[in-house]
Amino acid sequence: MTAILPLLFLFAAISGTAVVLVRDPARQVFAIAVNGLVLAILFDALQAPDVALSELAVGTAAVPLLFLVALMAVKTQPPEEDS
């Protein structure tokens, strides 16, 4: 148990930094989702399962899905123009 918490803090720091460093919005969505997942596990390890569930539902599922769908909606050019 003593090794898990520092490891989770480290993961939270790494995944949080990754959200900022990743520049492509589509990849950033997944970085946010991973960060949310790490935070959810961290909350659970700190014996806050209610908060962990909220974080999992909002930070890992709802918000990335909304972002992903918004990105899909914003992309207006047909796919053949991309290449």
């Binding site: 700190l46 399962p49 209610d50 962990a52 569930l53 909220s54 539902a57 909002v58 599922a61 709802a62 899905l65 909304l66 769908v69 918004a70 899909m72 909606a73 914003v74 207006t76 047909p78 796919p79």
Partner: protein, 258 residues
Amino acid sequence: MSPNARIVLLALAGLALLPGAAAVIAGLPAFGSTIAQYGERINAVAPEARHVANMVSAINFDLRGLDTLGEEFMLLAAITGTVVLLRGRRGEGNTERAMRRPGRAVIPRSEAVVLACRIAGPLTALFGLYVVLHATVTPGGGFQGGVILASGTLLIYLGEGYAGWRDAIRSHWLDALEGGGALLFALCGLAPMLTGAAFMQNILPLGTFRDLFSGGLMLVENLGVALAVTGGFTQLFLEFMEETREAREPEEPGEESA
């Protein structure tokens, strides 16, 4: 204001706030040292007084239920504001069918995505219902379950496309869910007053400890929160999608517009 002046202002503000922040951080209890006294008291009292195994629900819906009522209406106000902002000149009239984005190619979905969404969608909805119903027994409750239910409806969109999603989701129903949930919560506060009890006093039978039916009035309040959150999040998503589209009748009703 020039960039340099901003940086000077930031540095000054930082210097002014630093002693206070340092004092607060130094005064914090050590990491993981003790449970706060309030928590200890709740743990000792709530199972006997409210027959509830999940203390967080006991605090949210009963002991500090008034705070949650405030949060509930905060959510209602935030979503109403967003909807008003996004509807803009489109007005209140929502089309029954999906609107189209002009000049946008329809990208076909892969069968794997459709299959995955058709399997995961109902399972997600089922899990959401489970989390809502077991609010007083296991971690979770109306808010978490409501968000999971709303995510379940998003999986319909990913799997079936926007037209299919709009066929399943009715905007007016979402309004009713959102407003009705908040109303139900408010009524839970007011109804006990009719019997002469205090605002939001738990007058319903408390049920059995660790049973699905435990907590009395909390179950009704929890249901109100679940309805409002499910309706609110889905409504938010719907308005977000409609905002980028223009009303135009599709050439054939079943046509997909992703």
